[in-house]
């Protein structure tokens, strides 16, 4: 899929709300480093997921801008994977620095955060690079728009 701006944003929100939610629901009980009650772990994990979605809208604007320097106006598969590094680092920094600490409390330990973040990211990336096209045959021709 070669995205348009609205397509990027929609795809991100849609996949986080589906694949992201399912994967998070499955892995929270086995995330390392968590010691609180399970209900609290779930609450924190879904807040982290929501933060990836909200911050992601801003990231998508940046990616769209950077994409303009590419002749083909495409976004290679590899970029979709590697952008987990800056996005993860920024979110981790925001959590640790207390900038969004009041919203996500308690702040998850690094091991739990990175495990959840990387696993969700890879699952979303894999789905967006293939299986997404199975139910949604028009999605790839509309720049990633779901609606």
């Amino acid at each position: 899929m070669v995205p348009t701006l609205f397509g990027r944003i929609q795809t991100r929100l849609f996949l986080l709300a589906t694949v992201g939610v399912v994967v998070t629901a499955l892995i929270v009980p086995v995330l390392p480093g968590l010691s609180g009650p399970l209900s609290q772990d779930y609450r924190v994990a879904f807040l982290v997921l929501a933060a990836v979605a909200v911050l992601g809208v801003v990231w998508e604007l940046i990616y769209h801008f950077l994409m303009q320097f590419r002749w083909e106006k495409d976004w290679p598969t590899l970029f979709g994977l590697l952008t987990l590094v800056p996005e993860g680092l920024l979110l981790f920094f925001l959590l640790r620095s207390g900038a969004i600490g009041s919203l996500i409390d308690p702040v998850p330990p690094a091991s739990a955060f990175w495990t959840q973040f990387v696993v969700v990211w890879i699952c979303v990336w894999l789905v967006s690079n293939g299986p997404m096209r199975v139910p949604f045959i028009r999605w790839r021709f509309r720049g990633g728009r779901v609606l």
């Binding site: 070669v2 106006k73 495409d74 590899l78 293939g130 139910p135 790839r140």
Partner: protein, 485 residues
Amino acid sequence: MVAAAGIPMYDIPFLSVGGGIGSFVTLDYLRVYGVPTSQMRVVSNIDHPWQTYEFLTRCSQIPRPERIRSDSSSRPDNLWGFPSYALEEAWREKNPLFLFQIATEPILNDYWTPRAGTVFRNLEREAKRINYWDMLVKGQVRMVRRRAGGGYFTVVTPPEGTAPTKRIVFRSRFVHIAIGYPGLKFLPDLQEFRQKHGDYQHVVNAYEPHEQVYEFLKTRPGTVVIRGGGIVASRVLQRLFDDREKFGLQTQIIHIFRTFVTGSHGPHIWSRRKGGDGWAYQGFNYPKSVWGGQLKAEMRKLEGPARAQKYKEMGGTNTPWRRHWQEQMRAGRSGGYYHAVQGTVERVERAPDGRMLSYVRSKDGTVREPVSDYIIDCTGLEADIAEHRIFADLLRFGGAYRNPVGRLEVERHFEIKGTASGDGALYASGSATLGGYFPGVDTFLGLQIAAQEIADDLSRRGFCRKMGPLRSTSQWFKWAFNKAV
């Protein structure tokens, strides 16, 4: 009138004309949407949909084991594009490197592209699955005309002896025309040489069978002039370099570019294409975003001159940057057997020794007169759409007209503008519709995009049901397990 003339007439709601890959993907879409074979026919003079494509790719030096220039998820046999060809080949050939390549293209690796043989094998499987041959009617379509009561008459000449009359007629509510390229066009100076000397052996088009060139070069050292800077020129060059290496040949290659690209080019930092050594580099025939991204969305809104301008901006002959080709050309330049020059060929004449003498004038005024044993035209010029009788007739009598780049003007859903007839519709897809709201028409994925637009339009008209996520998923499983639709 038709009945009174004693011409047999057959009623069929949906008729596709052509029988190549354009017809195939459209019928495939409709079959998957749920249309039974009894509702559709395809009239063609070829036996299987990939026949012409395979002929042309083989001539232009892509036999079945070689790779075509097409994206991994552009699968004419699979409208979902999943699993992609890369996944399939990685599985079949037990080669995980393909997966690494597809995940890192085009940054760390060249674009991964499928083998021609993979494409043909899968087309055959899908054609069997959708009962393609139950829908095939052999014949040559003469014309498609609007019918007074709505819909269309399609006049067909069946193969001799297969019908009681010279012509048969189909009466349909919907007709789809996908007859491919109207024809090859030669460079004028080469055409003149061929006609003047009656020599069709030494001046050849890369899309014609021209194996004699390579066979001759195996027998003694020779010189070949290549014209053009596209993918076909790259392919022919590769063959010449490969043969040189494999058989220890002495072939000299002179490559003439009319437009010699020396580096990145384009008016703005946001619209600059890479290039060098004569070539403009691009992964596929069009910038990747024409099949679904930004360019597709932009073009969809443009009309008239603005659309023509956009086509011009993203157009131009180009070829992919492939590591292997770059190495071969580098070796050729340093070894003194590959010479790329800018120039316009003014004329070609017979040299006293019987070989060909090209008069080439460069922009800086230099005149070169290379003598060669063969000239291979790799420019891939296409003939005007009116060269094809069906289009000529539609333009004259059918209400069709030309788009801003001179081909057939179609709607966003690929209905030919000006040809509506009652509750019927006439559609076209493929090369004839280049210049429309969607640019990548003459590609695998472009044909599928057109097919989807057509199928969705037909569902709006009540011919079939629109396919939603549930049916799509269940149909995908049928595809995956090779079960009938």
